[in-house]
Symmetry: C2
Subunit: 301 residues, 2 copies
């Protein structure tokens, strides 16, 4: 049971955690903190939070659990603003899509990564933003990755794990670097391809006509290009190394593919497509969650 | 009303046309022709066709309408096999995803493009194959593009148009070259990206673990990588020119994006992402059909 939860950034990710814990009866008071008053007032109206403030120091003053869910570029400022108001026993965790930058931010603000700070990332989301887009079921049957450091307090990890399990999520742990590489491959690179594709079509002459002849597959394929541009700018900047490596790897693959097309090498094309189809079919067979519909309508970062 | 329809290739596309016309009571007898007996017998069992044969010459002998729905690489052989058995008044049309190759095939087989051959392409499909995957509603509220030539008989175009309208589709016409460029952008390029992404992940060490942390967005994004590899090999070979041009254009976009990440140019990244999001949101707002669910679960080639 969490007595007083402070959510810094009451958007899709922060709002959904608040809703899920509330629905489970696992939290006392929820204090919402953010930037714009409009979104915070809406959060209050919707009953997602009990109290609002634009001041992180005030938000965390009596909290036993603090959840940071602002864009990655705003993490350091939020940590700095709350630093001197945190109760010593308070646990701080976050939902940022990249973990090396959050750890670096903590180190910069606190001089070391506080033992009761547990870096985390729910592998769940949609292409929509703000508290309006939040819902209690977002984390059900989804994975949450925690990336504790050697110095992280095991009891803090256990409490954050329990919090996510209460929301229906399955919690796993891995290193910061491994998290950032895996996510670069499965989430950050696909987002770059979707943004890049849609932008390159949008910049073509007659792009209106082009989009007119794009049907079902295109809609699914490009859904993630409707994601929040600020959040994605921050993810790119925060995960620069791992994402650059994945982009380079993908570039090699596409050069090979383009060359095969140019020299009409049907055999090699068939080999690539068949290997990809087999991997994708295997992935779908094994994929959790089993809830096909929930899965279809959501995207992950 | 079509008296005798010959479907050459009773798979997803051919089978769905048969089902749709049957459901509309717009066809007399349907003869199914294909390669493997297994699929044809299944088509007969399912009531998709009334009669089956593995010989295109026999299939078309009494047909007033012939629909070709084999992979693009099999079009020329099918046309050659039926050439001497076509009734002079028979209309031939097809559903191939690339139009320049079909026109070239017809020219090679008949010495010229027959006036009663109407090249066409339904902008509808899924990632599944074979008659089992076919369904009568596939073409409802979807576009069909016809690419008649100067020498094409307007009455033949009118009859093919009416046939697709009976299936609930909206029919438009454009030039062969324009079709192939538009489809390279909206369908063929996205398929290359999906195949390329999944293949490059599948080739990474620990790819099982990578796929384990891929959730909702990845599933949607890569759905089209589950498409038929033979069909896609053929599309690449058939639309080599236009697809190569689109791949080059996309390469320039991705180089720009990768460079921006490498030099931490947040402003430029934000510009790209914001432009892409705006274009994608506009596309979704304007997209037809209105049936969100049908749209979500299907892919187009
Ligand atoms: N969306 C996903 O799919 C997803 C999935 C997993 C993890 N994440 C991570 O979760 C975090 C939040 O993402 P989200 O999708 O929930 O975004 P969101 O819906 O846009 O919510 C972000 C919230 O943070 C507030 N905020 C923005 N800048 C701020 C600043 N400088 N100072 C204080 N508050 C600020 C926003 O306030 P305003 O109302 O004023 O804009 C908004 O309420 C990000 O770190 C992201 O990487 C996202
Ligand atoms: N799938 C889409 O999303 C989509 C959308 C629009 C247009 N198209 C186009 O429609 C055509 C058919 O695609 P589809 O998705 O319907 O494929 P499909 O489900 O695999 O059906 C193709 C059919 O053609 C038969 N076939 C294959 N090779 C043959 C050959 N050499 N000679 C005679 N028959 C042969 C197959 O017979 P077997 O049973 O022996 O394999 C199968 O029944 C392709 O030209 C494709 O470009 C596809």
């Amino acid at each position: 049971m969490i007595e007083r939860l402070a959510i810094i950034g009451v958007g899709l990710i922060g709002g959904s955690l608040a809703r899920a814990l509330r629905a489970a009866g696992a939290v006392g008071e929820i204090v919402g903190c953010g930037r714009s008053l409009g979104n915070l007032e809406r959060a209050l109206e919707l009953g997602v939070v009990d109290r609002i403030t634009q001041n992180p120091a005030e938000a965390v003053r009596e909290a036993d659990m603090v959840f940071l869910a602002v864009p990655l570029g705003a993490m350091r400022g939020a940590l700095a603003a709350m630093r001197d108001s945190l109760r010593p026993e308070a646990i701080v965790t976050d939902g940022g899509s990249v973990k090396c930058s959050v750890v670096e931010d903590a180190r910069a603000v606190f001089g070391r990564v506080p033992p009761r700070l547990v870096p985390g990332h729910p592998i769940a989301g949609t292409e929509h933003s703000g508290v309006e887009a939040s819902f209690a079921e977002l984390y059900r049957d989804r994975r949450v990755i925690l990336t504790p450091l050697a110095e992280t307090d095991p009891e803090a990890v256990a409490r954050v794990t329990a919090m996510w399990q209460t929301c229906g999520a399955e919690v796993t742990a891995m290193s910061v670097a491994h998290h950032d590489e895996v996510l670069a491959a499965t989430s950050h690179l696909p987002h770059m391809l979707a943004f890049g594709l849609v932008d390159s079509l949008a910049r073509m002459r007659e792009n209106d006509e082009i989009f007119r002849y794009a049907a079902g597959g295109f809609r699914d394929f490009t859904r993630i290009a409707s994601s929040n541009p600020v959040m994605w700018r921050d993810i790119c900047l925060a995960n620069r190394e791992a994402l650059s490596a994945m982009l380079a790897r993908f570039g090699v693959e596409m050069t090979d593919l383009a060359e095969s097309i140019r020299r009409s090498d049907g055999e090699h094309l068939l080999e690539i497509f068949a290997r990809a189809k087999a991997a994708r079919d295997r992935y779908v067979d094994q994929a959790r969650p089993v809830h096909e519909d929930a899965d279809r309508s959501s995207s992950q970062t």
